[in-house]
Subunit: 318 residues, 2 copies
């Protein structure tokens, strides 16, 4: 399939470099500043070298890229909250041109779910967004396999960086600030980690899952999620939990019309106590107990493969 | 969809009683002795009452049932090994009539995978078999979502009864014979538990998974799996493991062309240490680390919903 990649960060680069192995051609590559378009397939290595040496990907602009030649638009720009721009406009332009869209940017599905679905209904294009929740765990595929109407609730530790911080704090009895600094040094947490540790990123995941389940019968956005973060959680709280065979994770929960995010005590050897950069979702079903699915956000390549799986499914359904 | 259910044990009964809720009609119901067929939809309660009071489901025979009116044949007879009969003949007859097949019986896919796939190629019908591995965890859907060619190995605790026995032995420091007797009393383990504790059932799951992955490039059957059971495992071994923060599970493993089943030491709070009647599969991927999926074999209804999910997917792809 011809791919148009919008977003030239680590995930965008990983998608671009794995595309050929999955049988796809990158025909458009853009960041917020510049773009390169070649309907015969472009030389992604040169494009990224240009970006590194000259600060621009190519001589075209982002607008041209969106109007360029591709069958599926891969939206991997950083998530923004509020109106989810500019990602929403990218999605809109692609759907209006009857192109498919695959997202890792959470904004459009978390904040403007109804708008995106409405554009999708009027389009030949289909929107896929497995990479928006939990990075690499196939939670949306699992929801679809189980049937969303047979799922009565979801709980999970969706944010890999919060899991990393909490499992390091517990394992080494270290304070939050110390572990955060370490995580930043290791490159696990990006410069601005507030989205992760304040629970915003988990809340966006919950908003997406709640919209997919549609238990409340109405569109959900970030404002509908009650949010508490893990910043300022003292390590003594984790020690207390450990004495009782438990630990603390940043848990997102969707149950009936209540959607909330916050630190919760979980069983130390239960499925929610995932460590390091793992994520987990626990799906409560009507007749089949709990099904859980867990993934490993080990690298940008891991997220890229999730995006390329979505592309593969679009291809199969043609 | 019109369902023909072959097998009137607990799972068959559960499928029959949930069918209407999923929007399906049971038009054929059979066990090895007798059958009832009604293309307008039959009264399943009366059929099961007949079986209880008179020992027969209805006045027709099983052969007639296979030739009866249904769009999907639900094969839920007990698994047999060797030539997988009579299930294989049921599958063959349905596919030759261009009907779909959904299996919980492991035999045909574990022992005659190539034969079934070959019949499927010549048929308008499709074969689905999610319930054959691990009962309720959606492992085959997850393999399909991840792409089987991107999975480099699978390890798992696929047998819920072996997990139950081992987790009870470890939790209460009880001997195998004691826990087995208890499990039989609770109805967790059926009269003949040898398939479960000797590792045969896990080996059949491994054979199915190996055939789906097709890493060895040739058909796999039970004979290709190296098998050790958990019968005669002393509780002292579990105690030793616990002192080291570990436990023992009956693990099935598919890696390259090596397929084996046996008790293995696993981390006490790792994903493989599932307790009670849970099952788990850990999929090693090329780029995305480990993805795991876990399910709960809490009842026959749980297995029935797995079967009905397969039916739903057949319906969607029409």
């Amino acid at each position: 399939m011809q791919l148009g990649i919008i977003g030239a960060g680590a995930v965008g680069q990983a998608v671009a470099s794995l595309a050929a192995e999955y049988g796809h051609t990158v025909t458009t590559l853009a960041d917020s500043e510049s773009a390169v378009v070649d309907s015969d397939g472009l030389d992604v290595e040169t494009a990224f070298k240009n970006k590194e040496s000259e600060g621009i990907i190519g001589n075209q602009d982002t607008e041209e890229a969106i109007e360029g030649s591709y069958e599926a638009l891969i939206e991997v720009t950083p998530t923004t909250i509020g109106n989810a721009e500019p990602a929403f406009s990218h999605v809109k332009a692609a759907l209006e041109r009857d192109r498919h869209v695959v997202l890792s940017n959470k904004g459009p599905m978390a904040e403007r779910y109804g708008d995106v679905r409405s554009l999708e209904r009027d389009s030949e294009g289909v929107v896929k967004f497995e990479a928006t929740v939990g990075g690499t765990m196939p939670v949306l595929s699992t929801i679809s396999a189980l049937g969303s109407n047979h799922i009565t609730g979801i709980r999970g530790a969706f944010n890999s960086r919060a899991n990393f911080i909490l499992s390091r704090m517990a394992a080494e009895s270290l304070e939050y600030e110390h572990v955060l600094a370490e995580a930043e040094e290791l490159g696990v947490v990006k410069e601005d980690s507030s989205f992760d540790v304040e629970g915003i990123e988990t809340a966006l995941s919950c908003s997406i899952l709640a919209n997919v389940l549609d238990q409340a019968g109405q569109e959900i956005a970030l404002d509908d999620v009650a949010i508490k973060g893990i910043d300022h959680l003292p390590s003594s709280t984790l020690e207390l939990a450990q004495e009782d065979g438990r630990t603390i994770r940043l848990i997102g929960e969707i149950k009936d019309d209540r959607i909330h995010v916050g630190p919760q005590l979980v069983s130390g050897n239960g499925p929610l106590a995932v460590t390091n950069l793992r994520t987990v979702a626990q799906l409560e079903t009507k007749y089949a107990g709990q099904t859980s699915v867990s993934g490993d956000r080990s690298s940008e390549y891991a997220v890229a493969t999730t995006i390329l799986r979505d592309v593969q499914q679009l291809e199969r359904s043609r």
